[in-house]
Symmetry: C2
Subunit: 366 residues, 2 copies
Amino acid sequence: MRERHLFGPGPSNPYPEATRALAEPLLGHLDPEFLRIMDETCEMLRTVWGTSNARTLPLSATGSAGMEAAFVNTVHPGDVVVVAVNGLFGQRMTDVAARCGAEVIAVEHEWGQPVDVDRVLSAHPSPAIIAAVHAETSTGVRSDIAALGAGKGDALLLVDAVTSIAGVELRADDWGIDLGYAGTQKCLGVAPGLAPFTINDRAFERRVEKPRSWYLDLGMLGGYVGEAGLKEGGKAQRTYHHTAPTAMVASLHAGLTRILDEGLDAVWARHQAAGDALQTGLEAMGLELFAAEGHRLPDLTTVKVPEGVDSAAVRRELLERYDLEIGAGAGAYAASVWRIGLMGHNARPDAVLLVLAALADVLGRA
Amino acid sequence: MRERHLFGPGPSNPYPEATRALAEPLLGHLDPEFLRIMDETCEMLRTVWGTSNARTLPLSATGSAGMEAAFVNTVHPGDVVVVAVNGLFGQRMTDVAARCGAEVIAVEHEWGQPVDVDRVLSAHPSPAIIAAVHAETSTGVRSDIAALGAGKGDALLLVDAVTSIAGVELRADDWGIDLGYAGTQKCLGVAPGLAPFTINDRAFERRVEKPRSWYLDLGMLGGYVGEAGLKEGGKAQRTYHHTAPTAMVASLHAGLTRILDEGLDAVWARHQAAGDALQTGLEAMGLELFAAEGHRLPDLTTVKVPEGVDSAAVRRELLERYDLEIGAGAGAYAASVWRIGLMGHNARPDAVLLVLAALADVLGRA
């Protein structure tokens, strides 16, 4: 098996603790030991989300299922859903929301730009939901979620935090996020397979009573993570819903423990430092960054492929010579942009040096 | 971390190879090495399903999501779906199918009995779908899927193989199964988290063009596993759908490799021998089996809790004294039935001896 440097848009190389946890003896999904791990995982997820929401849990599927869970549980047929589209994942939201029966109003942006808060907030006088991506994985852009929260009025604010959670500042409660989803395979430093999810009482009370998805029905998932117990402060009472992916949850527990041992502020600062150094280095190499200045994510950097350079050939060379993966661009930018992620365990000075040196070598700019 | 004997209805203790694979260096979901692993995994899944279906793949969620994928992709609003209900998972099918807009005809059976093929086939003159559970995890009963396939007429036959795959005889193509789903955490001997899925051309052609689920949309998932390439016999062409859970897929690959190295017939025989020995031993201890004679699964045995015995206390004692997990009953049988699984790596003579000795000790029947 090849050992790769995973410097693309995710998955990233997991924290070593998260990998080791995968190889620990497996626990049953109703084992008291596992229930303790699940409880602690939910509690640590509250911290990285910046929320006190009782309903904070790892859904048993990847981040894209988190997106589906968010819409399928809150969109009533005919609801107006305003979606800020400034990249691939905003686009995907419009598809997912429409399948749930929403009347979707897509507020389109040029890719590489952050969400225009005024335009989004004035797109409809009284939407049921306003949806936006905090950190667009397709473009490397960060948007101002707090401003959306401040102006949302009666709407629910639904946020994609897949590429921001545990990498950059995220404060769900302070910013007015009513529900959101993330993934494990980026700054959380865990393998892909789970979708950390949170929903507050306001959104939960407006939920669809019997959503079209059984698997992602939050009304039933409450029992699965012992919601009753959490609310009463007593011992969690579990009801069987589906078999929890116990190895993955144990791994997420280990990754979160590592992150909170380091401290969330320190982890954010580490990502910022790595991203700053990478972006400075790329520009020093004569490369041009893609994301709008002032709105660049530190954990995921987008860079324009120089004129005349074969994007795929460079990526292949990096993989073959150095076992180093970077990502192609997304959508229309597949061949003209590279995406370089320094996430979770990879947000380190040595990773910055390595990716800069490897890219310089392959581009002949050393 | 406690090391448990997982002798409940699943998860079972994984094959050691499957656990080791989880701890291997993580690969990106578009890495050529990973695409090879995914291709081989799909090919090995065809073998354990007994199918040549091109569309055979591990869905990125647990077995219950496999059930949802089966219905959400094939139920058109108003379709008549006949469901054979002889346990919890048949019941669940009725809920999932109804959420997809089906007109559900539930053919109810006493729990512990196999599916009555005549009753199911005569429940409606021309259903769109006939759905049944091959191996009911809630009762330990095996039903005759081949007979349903022989009599299905124009209907699609939709089968739950969660507790049969890689444990007992399963021949999807020979038996007329049009689509089916399974789970990794039972006889496949891998941690929970994936749903091996298969669908033939006949069912795929009748699918819902734009199903209500984006995440489980089989029309989009074809590209994800390189369906175009598979059909043309050329190199798989991938389109990005969602980030594959690469660690779990690598682990499934390792489990399947182990199973096929041993040989599927030998694996089935090993499960049969372990189940026979366990059931003989339980009856020799004076215990009564729950599932109807002649229809008992070897890999999952149900046994009645003796009069006056506290079911939960026995399970707790087994866990505390011997780190040995067995399952409670399901539904109305929670306190009156135990479920003992000897699945995958646990289908061994030493596991039979251990569980019999431990149970005898705790029950005071040694």
